[in-house]
Subunit: 491 residues, 2 copies
């Protein structure tokens, strides 16, 4: 298969940073630092006429003086100087230019003229542009962290396109803190040249990417976007968080990236038809991408809810119902099985409430029974990890003796670790998705870490966990319907 | 004014823990530990026939043997032993009994009979009951942490009633981690005797409490609840998170606390009429209570949005619009004022986008200008604290020299601290509410700590911040309308 043109963009053999700086508070410093710190695998060239070297790497006064063809240029110069800089880049054979500064179409007519000028340069030279008004990109295969904010990066399988740089990096940070990783990230900026749908197209055959996440404001190339999305969603899930639902939001989007935002209802039904999953909240979009990226798809919409305590179970059921999931009662057979080990006052229904039993073995056996039975397609586990948090607090401020602490540790934390290990095995064995919710108040338990590392996500509220599970069901049903239609079409 | 009967419950001079234990994994251990560790100010008596002492405090074989009248008893014995225990308590003059075990009406007919039995004991003796099926209570004035899970407690002005013990303590933990404190907390359990509306009544004249937070499933005494709520909301805001919005949720609630859940639409309109603010998500209820408890009420619904970057501004505007807030354009006068110090490409509108300027003084002057002008009633500040987070990351994994780090620290963290201090002063000076959003990924900046300690809440997403601001506006308008009606009624 021929390589996609954007392969060079995501795997450049050489990167030049125009405006690289030794002055700590400059964007030219921050971006260059990230690239060096990220361990970029290709050749790196700082360009700055006032510096002899940047971070110990020889600096050049301009692009031409580097004297070799370059794959990717990062342009960190004032807006008015961008056209000249781009011409130099094109002459030096640069294939892609990432244009960081703002001051283009998002600022009005003057900026729009400047933006038209750089697009003309791109069209006449064949060099492609990202931005302007972008906060950069990341690619796991070349360890290229061409970003402004310092975030700890981690390779993974999520491809992420964002019309907002600050939202993009914040969401990446949030995801990475929760154990996720990314294959690619592009802050697309004003999309003067390269558009979201072009990057989207790249993901169709990108083996590094199994789930696509998009933050969109305008999506002006709606038809092209939907055409590509339809092809993509047959192979990989696409999650979109689209702002511009209210008039105030549309106005703000126009000022931010110069986007003309259409009717939200139209977007909504178009997304549904294309099998695009919609998120309604910034953090929700990470939740949904995380489970789609790491959990198996459910065969149906019958959800089991296993909980340490009643309230979370009620809230999870409530939201499952609101998202059209079923929380079916358990059969007599399963209830009889569970009667063998559950505490006397357990709920005998779904949610399966262990009513605060401190015997964690109960919880483990309950997980096993539910995932094994054929009445449930997916499981929400609420509370796992909380006993480790208790132990943390006892360690911090309790009157317990060391002996009591170690007893507690072995009965609670160690047991939760065992459950976590079993959960991971069960997901694999029974091919059913599991989503865990455990509010930890900043404490990361060993159990949570084991789950994270093995793709079982800890989503911090039952409402968000229910929504993530509903998205798995939605995508699973979309695929099923597509296949059935596919069969019908062939007849 | 005569003291409210529940004064004894929230300020008991003596507490007896029936079932107090030295065995680390028992609820009788955990509850007793919390009371001791919390520094309860009254007399504490463990009752356990098998222990000579618990935590070094002399234990008694039964309540009678203590030989004095007792204000409050905590009952941690198996369900079937509760009636006998309560009779002993009543004979010993106990005024309030908190009944921890489950196994009552929530489990079906047998449990319901047992629950009827204990209610009969209460009615015939005058002793009042909390629960059964409760996880306890907290009262700041007596330092009484009668709770099962170990959470770090903090006194404050929020009174919290919860139909779920595990949700209640999780939400308290979340609030406390974010700098909030509580005056009272009651896990009301099955409400066999004492109901939510009775506790609510206590809050009307409770000087310790300025904001009331409720998690409800059933609310079976709807009329009584609304009567009290109407009186209360004229003086103090009441926030309710009510589950049972879907059929699945209603069924789960019935199994959890035996609640019969009515139509959600009826609840919704009743809440509105009574001026009760409704939360739609567990964490949202803490957000809303936090701003109502600590921020001034806005005079109108015109919201300013000040942001480090465009995307968060768009999302905040979008959600302000969805919650019927206005994000008005700035007047020429204010734009001219801001032109004096803002970076060249700033948005010249609302959201006020500092377009990633690294000069933090710009941000401070912008805050001042907006809060001073009379075009804006409340301000969302997005991003404050993020530069401190950057610095944290640079400290953790960067190639920066110590000199560069200290330069960054003084320009970023120190400046953010100054802005935070100014913000606190401005809230006071201009009497306008400010809500901050800064996703910190687990890093607490000095700026965030200053804000927290002074009641300016950091709410972790722009969507949730917009909702919290909308709740301030909703309550402010309810009060205004009530006053106007009050005037009309008198004519």
């Amino acid at each position: 298969m021929a390589k996609h043109a954007l392969d060079v963009f995501f795997n450049p053999k050489s990167v030049v940073v125009i405006g690289a700086s030794n002055r700590v508070m400059k964007w030219g410093f921050l971006v260059f630092h990230n690239i060096v710190r990220g361990g970029y695998r290709g050749k790196l060239y700082p360009v700055n006429p006032n510096e002899k070297e940047v971070f110990g790497i020889k600096a050049y006064p301009n692009v031409k003086s580097i004297g070799r063809r370059l794959d990717l240029a990062v342009v960190i110069v004032p807006a008015r100087a961008v056209p000249e800089t781009l011409k130099e880049c094109a002459e030096a054979g640069v294939k892609y230019a990432v244009i960081v500064p703002g001051g283009f179409s998002e600022t009005g007519d003057g900026g729009r003229a400047l933006e038209d000028e750089i697009v003309t340069i791109a069209l006449s030279t064949g060099m492609r542009l990202v931005g302007p008004n972008t906060m950069g990109m990341y690619s796991s295969t070349s360890n290229l962290a061409l970003l402004m904010p310092p975030i700890p990066l981690r390779p993974g399988n999520i491809g992420f396109l964002s019309e907002s740089g600050n939202l993009g990096t914040t969401m990446m940070q949030s995801a990475i803190v929760n154990g996720l990783g990314f294959s690619r990230y592009v802050s697309v900026g004003n999309q003067a040249d390269l558009k979201i749908y072009e990057f989207l197209q790249y993901f169709i055959d990108d083996n590094e990417t199994n789930t696509i996440l998009i933050y969109a404001e305008g999506l002006e190339e709606g038809r092209e976007f939907l055409d590509v999305a339809k092809r993509l969603t047959r192979k990989k899930p696409v999650v979109v968080y689209k702002s511009g639902r209210s008039e105030a939001g549309k106005k703000a989007a126009a000022s931010h990236v110069g986007a003309l935002v259409g009717s939200d209802k139209v977007y909504g039904s178009a997304f549904r038809q294309a099998g695009v999953i919609r998120a309604n909240h910034s953090f929700e979009m990470v939740d949904i991408a995380s489970v789609l990226s790491r959990q198996p798809l459910p065969k149906g919409r019958r959800i089991g809810i296993l909980t340490y305590g009643g309230g979370w179970g009620v809230i999870a059921s409530d939201h499952c119902g609101m998202f059209n999931l079923e929380v079916p009662p358990l059969s007599t057979h399963v209830i009889e099985e569970m009667d063998k080990f559950m505490p006397p006052h357990w709920s005998r229904g779904n949610p399966i409430d262990t009513v605060g039993a401190l015997d964690i073995d109960i919880f483990r056996r309950a997980v096993e029974t539910i995932l094994e039975c054929d009445e449930i397609d997916g499981l929400l586990v609420l509370g796992l990890g909380v006993y480790s948090v208790f132990t943390h607090y006892y360690r911090t401020f309790s009157l317990l003796t060391n002996y009591q602490l170690s007893e507690m540790n072995s009965q609670l934390c160690d047991a939760e670790v065992e459950i976590a290990k079993d959960l991971v095995k069960f997901v694999d064995k029974y091919g059913k998705p599991v989503v865990v919710t455990s509010f930890a108040g900043g404490v990361v338990s060993d159990a949570a870490r084991i789950l994270q590392d093995n793709g079982v996500m800890n989503i911090p509220s039952p409402e968000r966990a229910a929504k993530a599970m509903a998205s798995l069901v939605e995508y699973s049903e979309y695929l099923k319907n597509s296949e059935e239609k596919g069969i019908r079409d062939k007849k």
